[in-house]
């Protein structure tokens, strides 16, 4: 056996890569280049040797700050480019520029852009003011013209009413106006006005405030501006309203001006003389035209500058990101005593050592360093990280396993088996080759657009779907296979593999549901006979088939799990686990449920009528009784007694010996160390303080025993409940086929029964949506989740520890855009 397993070719996914802890001593002058090369290689995980130092106490903090500053500038430029709406279509290819060049260029560009922005801002502001002035002039003229007439007419009215209403204080505005001398000419009467423009949203409050402040002694006129004006702060277009306030008195004027200021309303003087107004309007218009031209030229200039920058931006951002990563990594290294070299520690896969050496040499050569970097392996205290080399096909399966827990270092990897078993278990629940074809089409679309999709950013849901495209592919293929076996195509049976073996008793076929069919020829060659659909024997047959099949799959699957625990124990050289865990577990499971599987197979092969429930129940209740008609094969009763005995022995076998043997081993190992306290005290001074070699675990027998007890009980109970849990394969498959039957018969066929096009169309649409959303999406999801559970719980708890941690090498490839 050992011979055989060792001769097998090594497989990357079986166990995680062998890792080694390395120390690199890097001369300071070539440090940057070496780290860059290592980042390109991406196979070394650095350990933070300065964990106790805060970020700004580290050596290369200034460089990190510089990078952060540069990425800030880059973000600013990117923002400007995006705001200007320039597409950075052509990315300029240029030879490697170094960081200093980029830094100076960036500073120049930023300065340039900021200057241009401030210039254009000033221009924009005066442009805005002029525009507002123009609008105010246009609108206010109307008010002034109309208010002259209006005021006059009111005046007359007032003169008539004033004596009768002398104590009527509610009309103070009119009253005051009346008291002024020379009411026909308002500018002489002390009736003044202020005109201006204000945001539309503030008008109401503004008016109210004015009313309050002047105690109602004012007249407020407003008209919406025709053009939107840009808000200088948010650079959004806002709607504004022109207003003209008439009032009297100097005090009111200062108050109103203050309120205008407080509300951010811009006031513009409008002359009352119409000819003057015309003149100013003309002036303003001509200046506006000038300014517009200047502004346009400025924007063109700016856009040119931005588009010249735009081409470089992506590349620069990438460079700065890498540079920052390099300095962040350098910050994890230690200076040695002489301050001339940096010392780094980290994990790397053994196969990568040559590549790392090579990268170190190249870097030393390229940076003309006198001294090469030294790489040597060290002993590590903590356990190594887990690293699987996956490709786009195996990666989603590894992810499925990792979602439960990352494998312990060099532990047997369940992902290898998951690759096939997972889609297969899914398909058992999702068996319908019509639905399978739909899934297959979806998976094929994703795979066909692989190159395009992998480069763009997808939503979280699409990303998940895209990441699992090969899972989807296998799931759909297996669904089609299982669908052919179940003979279901959107719940319709097809005669693919020849004619059915059954026929109705008479020509009318009325009693197919009640009495069943008669067999008249050789059995149907593959899968379920199509004639059974809707017949009396359909459900009993399918239920019995699927239930027994589920148990067979379950027992095989769990046996595989226990077998893997053997390989684990064998690999880690723990014969204790093999003898006192693997063997009794194997015996226990197989003497009960392995035997049940055997009975199922025998029953299938012989076509016996024996009741398997009865056999299994009375195997426990009265093992010595005669089996009677339920006897399937000769010698069944003694075999049952033997198996029962074996199962009973297996329980204490897996419970007691292991903790006692562990205790004995521990006692033997530490027997001669009763005076250990003195020794360790001396030894502590010699070795490094945080060394774990001196640290031996305290052996607590109670803890170990309780642990073992929990494990044994869990296994014994679990082997029953887990086997039952596999029955979900049957349940979900049944639910799926029944649901699709309902949609097919009660929706599609029902609608088709009418001779009305609209009803048929509605029926078709309802059927299509039900199929797409309920059967294809929700059922896929639920079958997926149940398959996931069967893997995580029923399969992996037999052997999988899953308490490792992932290998995260320092690599430029993993730097993403948001890691700034």
């Amino acid at each position: 056996m050992d011979h055989f397993t060792e001769k097998l070719p090594s497989m990357d996914l079986m166990r995680s890569e062998k890792m080694t802890f390395v120390q690199i001593i890097i001369p300071a002058e070539s440090a940057h280049r070496i780290i860059t090369y290592l980042g390109q290689l991406g196979l070394l995980q650095f350990r933070d040797l300065n964990a106790e130092k805060s970020p700004f106490q580290r050596t290369f903090v200034n460089q990190v700050k510089r990078c952060a500053e540069m990425s800030r500038k880059l973000r600013f430029l990117m923002d400007q480019v995006n705001k200007a709406g320039i597409m950075s279509s052509h990315s300029v290819l240029q030879s490697d520029t170094n960081l200093e060049d980029i830094e100076t260029q960036l500073a120049e560009h930023e300065h340039e852009i900021i200057e241009m922005n401030s210039n254009s801002e000033k221009l924009q502001q005066s442009y805005n003011e002029l525009l507002e002035f123009k609008i105010v002039l246009q609108k206010a003229c109307n008010f002034l013209v109309s208010s002259h007439g209006h005021a006059l007419s009111e005046e007359r009215e007032l003169v008539e009413n004033v004596y009768s209403n002398e104590d009527f204080v509610e009309t103070p505005f009119l009253f005051e106006q009346e008291t002024m001398p020379g009411p026909s000419k308002s500018n002489q009467s002390g009736l003044r006005f202020i005109s201006g423009i204000i945001c539309k949203s503030k008008v109401l409050r503004f008016e109210r405030m004015l009313f309050r402040a002047t105690r109602g002694n004012m007249l407020f006129n407003q008209a919406p501006a025709d053009e939107q004006i840009m808000d200088p702060i948010s650079t959004e277009m806002v709607e504004k309203t022109v207003f003209v306030v008439f009032f009297s008195g100097e005090q009111a004027r200062t108050k109103i001006l203050k309120i205008c200021e407080a509300f951010g309303a811009n006031c513009y003087p409008v002359p009352e003389d119409i000819s003057k107004q015309r003149q100013i309007t003309r002036e303003v218009s001509s200046r506006l035209a000038d300014l517009e031209a200047t502004l346009d030229a400025g924007i063109r200039h700016r856009n040119k500058a931005l588009s010249s920058v735009g081409g470089h931006l992506a590349k620069w951002m990438d460079m700065v990101r890498r540079e920052k990563a390099v300095y962040d990594t350098l910050n994890m290294l230690n200076f040695d005593v002489t301050k001339k070299c940096l010392v780094g520690e980290g994990w790397c896969p053994i196969f990568a050592k040559a590549q790392i050496q090579d990268a170190l040499q190249r870097a030393t050569f390229d940076s003309n360093s006198q001294v090469g970097a030294i790489l040597h392996s060290m002993d590590a205290l903590e356990s190594p990280p887990t690293y699987f080399r996956t490709n786009s096909f195996t990666n989603p399966y590894q992810e499925i396993v990792d979602a439960y827990g990352v494998a312990r270092y060099q532990e047997a990897n369940p992902a290898v088996y998951t690759t096939i078993i997972f889609p297969f278990l899914f398909a058992v629940m999702f068996g319908d080759w019509g639905h399978g074809i739909c899934l297959l089409l979806g998976a094929l679309v994703l795979i066909a657009h692989e190159r395009k999709l992998s480069n763009q950013r997808l939503g979280s849901f699409m990303e998940m779907l895209f990441g699992g495209r090969y899972v989807l592919l296998l799931m759909s293929l297996f669904s089609m296979y299982c669908g052919l076996i179940y003979n279901e195509f959107f719940s319709v049976p097809f005669h693919i593999f020849g004619a059915s073996a059954y026929k109705c008793r008479d020509s009318s076929c009325r009693d197919a549901h009640t009495t069943g069919l008669v067999k008249y020829r050789e059995p149907y060659p593959f899968g379920v006979d199509p004639s059974w659909r809707g017949s009396r024997s359909e459900l009993p047959f399918l239920n019995s088939l699927k239930m027994k099949m589920s148990i067979l799959f379950g027992v095989v699957h769990m046996n595989l799990g226990i077998l893997l625990s053997y390989f684990n124990a064998h690999f880690f050289g723990s014969s204790l686990d093999i003898r006192y865990q693997f063997v009794p577990q194997m015996i226990f499971l197989n003497s009960l449920f392995g035997y049940l599987s055997l009975l199922i197979v025998v029953k299938w092969c012989t076509g016996s009528q024996a009741d398997l429930y009865h056999i299994m129940i009375y195997m426990f209740l009265s093992p010595f009784d005669n089996l009677g008609e339920n006897e399937l094969f000769w010698g069944q009763r003694p075999l049952q007694i033997l198996l029962l005995l074996l199962a009973l022995i297996a329980v204490p076998w897996m419970l007691f010996p292991k903790p006692f043997i562990l205790k004995k081993l521990h006692n033997e190992r530490f027997q001669g160390r009763n005076y250990g306290v003195l020794n360790t005290f001396e030894a502590d001074l010699e070795v490094e303080p945080d060394s774990a070699r001196q640290h031996h675990e305290e052996f607590n027998f109670n803890e170990v025993f309780v642990h073992q007890m929990i494990h044994s009980i869990e296994f014994v109970l679990g082997s029953v409940s887990n086997t039952a849990s596999y029955l979900r394969l049957w349940a979900l498959s049944l639910a799926h086929s029944e649901l699709s039957t309902v949609f097919y018969e009660k929706v599609l066929l029902l609608a088709w029964g009418y001779d009305n096009l609209i009803i048929r169309l509605v029926g078709l649409v309802v059927f299509a949506f039900a199929t797409a959303f309920i059967l294809l999406m929700m059922e896929t999801l639920s079958a997926f989740l149940h398959a996931l559970r069967l893997h995580w719980v029923e399969f992996q708890n037999k052997f999988y520890h899953g308490d490792g941690y992932k290998f995260r090498p320092f690599s430029f490839a993993t730097l993403t855009e948001d890691e700034n």
Binding site: S54, K65, N820
Partner: protein, 351 residues
């Protein structure tokens, strides 16, 4: 006292309570403060803060930083948090959240009125206002000449209007009157808030009444200390104390007649919860009293998080964040002015 909050609280308040507890776990820890205190420049502070929740707010600031920028950006984060919560809140939580900002509103009103009195530029004053206490027509405050106008023009639209009715006099605004106005407003505000919390009932009422009582007592002590040696009469002083809290009513009588700090101390030491505040202070010392109060306050606010299903966590979170921003301001000022030896004088560790 306790209702069945656990059954129904999460229907409306659960999401926001989760949010606020999440925010709370983002508060700077002692380790953070220790690192911040070791910073040499403001850039170091920025760098350290970039790893905290303030990161996104500071990352786009160009390099020569100023203390004001840091404080401004940190406050912006608090305001964003607050606005998010307010948007999601339903009654009565939204009213509760609005109550939290009234204190800032009072401060802003007083700031602007005082500023206008000393003829400062309104825009400049507006920049100094706390963003949480802003209301629409705040800039118009500058127009008002006396208190009556202040009320009639501006404040009548704000939630402060009912508080104002208590302190309206036709007197002109001067420094003394403004200060009295602030305290009267604050008194009315605290009492109203207290009543509101009592109305809410349950754990909210219990915890908030504790927190607000502390606040009221602290204000009472501060008023007493600040008014020692001024022309404020005993009766007037007595009127400024809020009508609840541990000191109410007997402590207030005693505080009203205090003539120096040691008498205040003697009054306070009669109340067991406040004994510990003075334990560290020597006689006649009042400089460190503020810090002692802040420390006690922070302790109480942290304790508010120990219970679930109540609104006091929102109040406590806002106050803790404000304390944190005060700490950051102090640290950055010390770093900027090279006074690192004084860094620990005023920093109140939150955890």
């Amino acid at each position: 006292m306790y209702g069945f909050e656990a059954m129904t609280f999460n229907i409306h308040g659960g999401y926001l309570e989760a949010i606020v507890r999440g925010h709370r776990s983002g508060l700077l820890t002692t380790a953070d403060y220790n690192n911040l205190c070791q910073c040499e420049t403001l850039d170091d502070i920025k760098m350290h803060l970039s790893a905290t929740e303030y990161g996104p707010y500071l990352q786009n600031e160009p390099s020569p930083l100023h203390t004001t920028t840091i404080v401004e950006k940190c406050t912006l984060k608090l305001v964003d948090d607050y606005k998010h919560m307010l948007c999601q809140a339903t009654e009565p939580l939204s009213t509760f959240l609005e109550y939290i900002t009234y204190g800032h509103m009072i401060d802003n009103v007083v700031l602007i009125v005082t500023g206008t009195l000393h003829e400062r530029d309104v825009q400049e004053l507006l920049e100094k206002c706390h963003p949480l206490g802003m209301f629409d027509s705040i800039a118009t405050l500058a127009v008002a000449q006396n208190m009556r106008e202040l009320y009639r023009l501006v404040l009548v639209d704000t939630p402060l209007a009912p508080y104002f009715s208590e302190c309206i006099t036709s007197e002109d605004l001067d420094d003394m009157n403004i200060e009295i106005m602030r305290n009267t407003l604050y008194k009315a505000y605290l009492e109203d808030f207290y009543r509101f919390c009592q109305k809410l009932g349950g754990a909210t009422a219990e915890i908030m009444s504790d927190l607000l009582a502390f606040e009221a007592d602290r204000r009472a002590v501060n008023i007493t200390i600040n008014s020692i040696g001024t022309e404020l009469t005993r009766d007037d002083r007595r009127k400024l104390y809020s009508n609840f809290g541990l000191f109410y009513p007997y402590g207030h009588e005693e505080l009203a007649v205090c003539e120096d700090i040691d008498q205040v101390r003697a009054v306070m030491e009669k109340y067991p919860p406040y004994q510990s505040i003075f334990a560290k202070l020597s006689y006649g010392e009042s400089q460190m009293l503020d810090k002692a109060f802040y420390e006690e306050e922070v302790k109480r606010h942290c304790l508010a998080f120990e219970q679930q299903f109540h609104y006091a966590v929102f109040f406590a979170y806002m106050r803790l964040r404000e304390q944190e921003i005060r700490n950051l301001m102090w640290i950055s000022e010390c770093v900027a002015q090279n006074q690192k030896s004084r860094v620990h004088d005023s920093v109140v560790f939150i955890f």
